[in-house]
Symmetry: C2
Subunit: 331 residues, 2 copies
DNA sequence: TTGTACGCGTTATCAA
DNA sequence: TTGATAACGCGTACAA
């Protein structure tokens, strides 16, 4: 592990000159520059980022804290963030909070301790850790879910409206006993999608509601669907708030010999790659995940560059993609 | 951004005592400990990991460099790594090399500069960057694909054998014109799966081979499938080397009105969550992705603890999961 | 243009 | 048990 002074010694110059030569800041004699370059190369010298950042009081790394690495929605966001960050010379550290407030707090602590330049996160809940970021002045951008208290940059989707439109689409298709499978209370997207569902039902004068909450995972969807189907007046259609849950729901429907688009209408959030592959193809609410990530990264970089700029909240629109699962078979 | 000396001043002790109190190393007067704790809390003190690591000459972060964040196989690996690392007090930095040697090299550089404690990676190709890690003495574990030159810890899958068995399964089902859709030349898994396919064909005395390489993505699968299907004697079954490619292949088959398990047999690598959801359910080669990650993390931690221990290469087995897509309809 | 010397925030050594 | 102090490796005033 050669240091800058090893290089200096080998090149016959001072450490200051090595630093300047390698960073191309101040003007250095071209002859010395190449001597330094060669020495560094021969020694296999890699500048110590720890020391450099300690000295510079800044890091070129962004932390992205998402709630589920296995959810394609979030990995698409990650790609968006990465592409933008990359071109600006930043690295991205991906952290998986696993929809767990404790893990989220731990990762925020790590981000704080590592002195990352900024944080992008999809808040798990009320998110206590966030205040410490604010207090330390670390730039933060919330994605997918809003952060309580204003003054935060955010990139969200009008998910309540999207849920309402999806439900209205089911109503328009002729379904009348529409149910909703959503995530845990407290997770904003889960609450908003449920609210949108209720909006549509109320507007259409439909009752009663058939609602079920469960974990944002396949097992949760399976469980919720089973309970809904076992109830006295089971739903004839389902709005599912998350693609992982949709897997469980579809499994449960198959087990009950209920075919989507014929026996029961189904619309699920997120246009995953396999949505058009299943039979029948799945009607989905497509969220612009990649763009959310890219936009969040842009916002974060802008704030790092100018901490005083007014906070921005961008809301992107989702798009209903109609496929076979929400059709209603002729009676 | 309060420092350790702010805390020391406020608690009326030396910085050394603060350090000791907060790290619980040496024995400190309990009274002082609580005074320090309170002072730190009130100040909102977060130790500067940069300074700490610079001093300690070590970091508690692992870098995981994978070739595709959007591939469920790799995100499962990530979870395995994370779970093991977490319990050992390490954080995991996830990097997406995107099957791109340049990006891989850049991330290896970052890992080197940030002085991470160790690296787990799925090598993109010949991987030149790796030597610099070795040379610097940074522990490395290869996953999914081997690293040229011995002396590296590795966690692999006997993917050639798995491909052979999958092909034999198709043969046993009655298919005779079996084709193979695999990834780019140079990516070891792509090469090995192709080799396994050839093994089976040779052993059964079947010819000619119907092979096609393309990018490990849906578009690649689509393109490969189309070319194979357009050929003079199109295949009656397909072995697909990757789940992303499988999406493209299935789309292409649907477009050609070819139904898996009836018109054409299909086996694909990786038991993705939706494999049993499509119609017919997809026969897959299930790789123990989570376990690969967990094992790699264990190996890495062991090497960090003891750099002198002999390198280990673990090979895990894949499992063929028979479902509908590889059945052969009665003639 | 180059070199000397200090400080970034910690932890570890050594005395007290 | 505690405190003063020297590193860790780098960037950058300041002086030459």
């Amino acid at each position: 592990m050669p240091t800058i002074s090893d290089v200096a010694r080998k090149a016959g110059v001072s450490t200051a000159t090595v630093s300047r030569a390698l960073n191309g800041k101040s003007s250095v004699d071209p002859v010395l520059v190449s001597r330094v370059r060669i020495a560094a190369e021969e020694l296999g010298y890699h500048p110590n980022a720890l020391a450099r950042n300690l000295r510079r009081q800044e890091t070129a790394v962004l932390a992205l804290i998402i709630s589920d690495v296995e959810n394609p929605f979030f990995t698409s966001i990650a790609r968006g963030v990465e592409d933008v960050a990359q071109t600006a010379g930043y690295s991205v550290v991906l952290c998986n909070s696993d929809e767990n407030a404790d893990k989220e707090r731990r990762y925020i602590d790590v981000a704080l301790q590592e002195r990352v330049a900024g944080v992008i996160l999809s808040p798990t809940g009320l998110s206590s850790g966030i205040e410490r970021l604010r207090q330390r002045g670390t730039p933060v951008v919330a994605v997918d879910r809003p952060l309580a208290g204003h003054g935060t940059d955010q990139v969200l989707v009008d998910t309540r409206l999207a849920a309402r439109e999806a439900t209205e689409h089911l109503i328009a298709a002729g379904y009348r006993r529409i149910g909703c499978v959503t995530g845990p209370s407290g997770i904003r997207t889960a609450d908003d999608r449920l609210a949108g569902y209720r909006d549509a039902l109320s507007a259409a004068g439909l009752a009663p509601r058939r609602e079920r909450r469960a974990a944002y995972r396949a097992a949760g969807g399976r469980e919720a669907a089973r309970k809904l189907l076992d109830a006295p007046h089971p739903p004839d259609a389902l709005l599912v708030a998350n693609s992982a849950m949709a897997i469980g729901v579809l499994e449960e429907l198959a087990a009950a010999k209920l075919r989507p688009g014929r026996d029961v209408g189904v619309v699920a959030f997120d246009d995953v790659p396999w949505a058009s592959l299943i039979d029948p193809p799945q009607t989905v609410v497509a969220q612009p995940a990649y763009e959310i990530g890219a936009e969040a990264a842009r916002l974060l970089l802008a704030r790092i560059a100018d901490p005083a700029r007014p906070p921005e909240a961008r809301t992107l629109a989702a798009r209903l993609v109609e496929r076979g699962s929400s059709r209603r078979a002729p009676v």
